[in-house]
């Protein structure tokens, strides 16, 4: 074997070792890259899941049925306390959930089109339902017509129709659904009577009653509701009274968190 032959053999072996090193280095990088990506993805997914990013679970029929709900008359009801009798329940009732014996009484003034009301509802719904079921809280929802848009009134009339023609349980689910489906305040087109009727039907309400009520555009419910908010000197929405005291907070979520602490989870 010549000297050059040996030289070539050595060079080939060296090249093979280098190629092997490069390959293992590449594999190491890939493995490391993959591992870091997986760890980051798991952390992000965990936080996302924890924050309820997949959306708040829609109230199921079974859930809603467990929450005690009833309708109370709002004419003549004291503005900042719950009307405890159905004596004056007429054509304009409000929705109340929870037991009358509950130690904490909450009154919620809201508008179905108000964005901050949507936030308060989404942040408070789950724990309020649970606390109402456990007898810890009684909540009276007093939706009224604050925003000038016709949809605010349409949603109110639809809600009133569900409350009077169907049942308080169905009204609770419809109330929650109206916030889940809330349109933008400056939408180019708002959900119409038939859309509201189909939403009512999806939670077990009477769709034709809703469609008729929205089309009739009777201001009676809104008038009674607005009178209540005026009497309570409600400055805006959402306004929440807890045992007669105004609930304050830096944001609707903050208000919901404070309310949860007051009720005791």
């Amino acid at each position: 074997m010549s000297k050059t032959g040996r030289e070539e053999g050595r060079r080939e072996r060296a090249a093979a070792i280098q190629a092997e090193q490069a390959r293992s280095e590449r594999n190491r990088k890939l493995a490391l890259y993959g591992a870091v990506v997986v760890v980051l993805a798991v952390i992000a997914a965990a936080v996302f899941w924890y924050s309820g990013g997949s959306g708040s679970s829609p109230t199921t029929a079974a859930d809603a049925a467990k929450v005690p709900a009833r309708a109370v008359g709002m004419s003549g009801a004291p503005a900042t306390t719950i009307a405890t009798t159905d004596a004056n329940a007429g054509s304009t009732p409000n929705l109340v959930i929870g037991k009358a014996s509950a130690p904490t009484k909450v009154v919620v003034y809201e508008d179905f089109l108000c964005p901050y009301c949507r936030e308060f509802e989404e942040a408070s719904r789950d724990f309020l339902h649970a606390a109402a079921e456990q007898g810890k809280v009684e909540v009276e929802y007093r939706p009224f017509h604050l925003l000038p848009e016709q949809y605010s009134l349409d949603a109110l009339n639809a809600f009133s129709a569900v409350l009077t023609k169907s049942s308080p349980s169905v009204a609770l689910r419809f109330h929650d659904l109206l916030y889940d489906k809330q349109p933008y305040e400056q939408a180019s087109s708002f959900p119409d009577a038939s859309k509201l009727a189909s939403w009512a039907k999806s939670v077990g309400g009477d769709s034709s009653a809703v469609e008729d009520a929205v089309n009739a555009n009777d201001p009676a419910f809104a008038k009674a509701a607005d009178a209540l908010s005026t009497a309570a000197k409600v400055p805006g929405t959402p306004t929440i009274f807890v045992n007669g005291q105004t609930l304050s907070g830096s944001s609707p979520t903050d208000m919901a968190n404070k309310l949860q602490t007051m009720i005791g989870k």
Binding site: S51, G52, S56, P115, P252
Partner: protein, 160 residues
Amino acid sequence: MRWAGTLLRLVVGGVWIAAGVIKLPTPEASVTAVRAYQLLPLGATNFIGHLLPILEVAVGVLLVLGLFTRAAALVSALLQVAFIVGISSVWIRHIPINCGCFGDGGATSWAQARSSYPWELARDTGLLLASAFLVVWARTRVALDGFLFPEPTRSPARGE
């Protein structure tokens, strides 16, 4: 150049972490901020509102650590483009809102909004340029990228 990149990483990453951490505990407020732009399809707002704070913190942490710098800077730049489009859009449509950049999104007065929009756009443009810089020159000093994925050592023989 590489030290300049490090500085930009820390500044942009720090801003992202601050913006995200404020919003993380109140996802519903984040959804309100997203909805205030009245831009996205309604069905997407819940998802985006919950996702944004997490994405912001993730991008911020990656930038500060200098890990996957180019990818993180690219996401950072794309988010800034989205924010610039969003703020321009509410300005043009005369919708007065707080940008919700650092929490506290939602409606405000038009006078307040009109005086804020130019500054917010200027800030986001600056952050966009800094992010773009990092996309182009992703190798910076004191970065995990350099530690985990060292550049092939250059043999002096080949020269620079």
